[in-house]
């Protein structure tokens, strides 16, 4: 975990970032608040450069809520990662979460989505 975030009290993020070949696999275990989301975004972008990743897979299967801020952050992250040369896929959006996102009018533009980890990896591999 990078320590270059002076302001944040150092609570570990309820998310794990694993590297698998050229890809980063991010698994979010519990709902993240806004500050944690921004931290995740920063951490990830930093890792993309450091590890020279080609792809990011974000697994949100454990979440039963995804608010508009989270959706926006993920979309931004996808765009930023693309600027640094990595493709992003979000996997495991639950049916209810999908419905809520649509009802709230949240679009996740530029972000590829896939059913689950397996599908996501397949997409990253192609």
């Amino acid at each position: 975990m990078p320590t270059d975030v002076p302001t944040a009290p150092h609570v570990p993020l309820p998310a794990s970032i694993l590297s698998q070949g050229p890809n980063l696999i991010v698994s979010i275990h519990a709902a993240l608040d806004d500050e944690q989301l921004e931290r995740l975004q920063r951490d990830l972008l930093e890792r993309v450069g450091r590890d020279r990743c080609r792809g990011i897979l974000i697994d949100v299967a454990a979440l039963d809520v995804l608010d508009s801020f989270a959706a926006r952050t993920l979309a931004d992250l996808a765009y930023m990662a693309q600027l640094r040369g990595a493709r992003t896929v979000v996997v495991g959006i639950a049916p209810d979460v999908a419905m809520t996102l649509v009802r709230l009018g949240v679009r996740i533009p530029l972000t590829q989505t896939a059913l689950d980890l397996e599908e996501g990896l397949e997409w990253l591999g192609t």
Partner: protein, 294 residues
Amino acid sequence: MTDETSTPTGAEGDRGDELLLPELVAHLRDHRTQLRQQWAERITDAHLLSSMTNQEVFSEATSVYDNYVEVLETGSVKALQHYARDLSERIIPRGVETHEVIGIVLLLRDVLARSLFEKYRDDFELLNRVLDAYEPAANRIANTVAVSFVEQRERVIRDQQDALLELSTPVLQVRERLLILPIIGVLDQTRAQQLTEQLLHGIRAHRAKLVVIDVTGVPDMDENVANSLVDTVTASRLMGADVIITGLSSEIAQTLVTIGVDLSKMHTVGDLQGGIEEAERQLGFRVSKVPDAD
């Protein structure tokens, strides 16, 4: 016609009104067999409850009668409510109509009132007071039975609606990772919502990659419905499944263009067959005809 020994007509004028109801109840109890018989006959004469046998009518009549007297006695409609609901549950499947149920209760009210007229015909003033006590209670009973019946009926209708809704949107797998969702009938907001929900769960259960939504059976589409269709597609994409919409009729196509709904981001194919073929192509299936073996 049967003059009770316990109620000599002469002294009744002085009795308090609170005693009238118990007296009434006692009268109805004493003449139970005869009044009940009268009532059952009138039901048959009026051709009510024609879907039930005489035997059944008689036995239900007995229960209703007893409940009726009990309500008069206790003033509480709780037990009657319960019975009426129960009765409705039994007779609704047999096609008994609302007017029949209300009809029989009003008949009973009538039969009992007539017997009261008979009994108190010599003392008009007393008869008036008896009726004052009887009428509100009788009205309440009629009300309770009718309301219970209608409520029960509505519940049955609601259940059927739910069942229909469930049936009306099957999510079917036709190939590995390919689902079809044929929509038949009028789409409204509720149904569109429910359909989306079912589709999304279907996508997860079947691990679908492509969904063909066929709207050949949808006669009409307005802006709301079109937008919810767009939402369905968006939600499916969030779950990693692409959607092909097929069977948009020329009328619907014209309507959509006229009201300015933008479906250009959606993948549409003319008919269901075309949609499935397109989906198969995208999934990498190749369907070819086997040359005749013989």
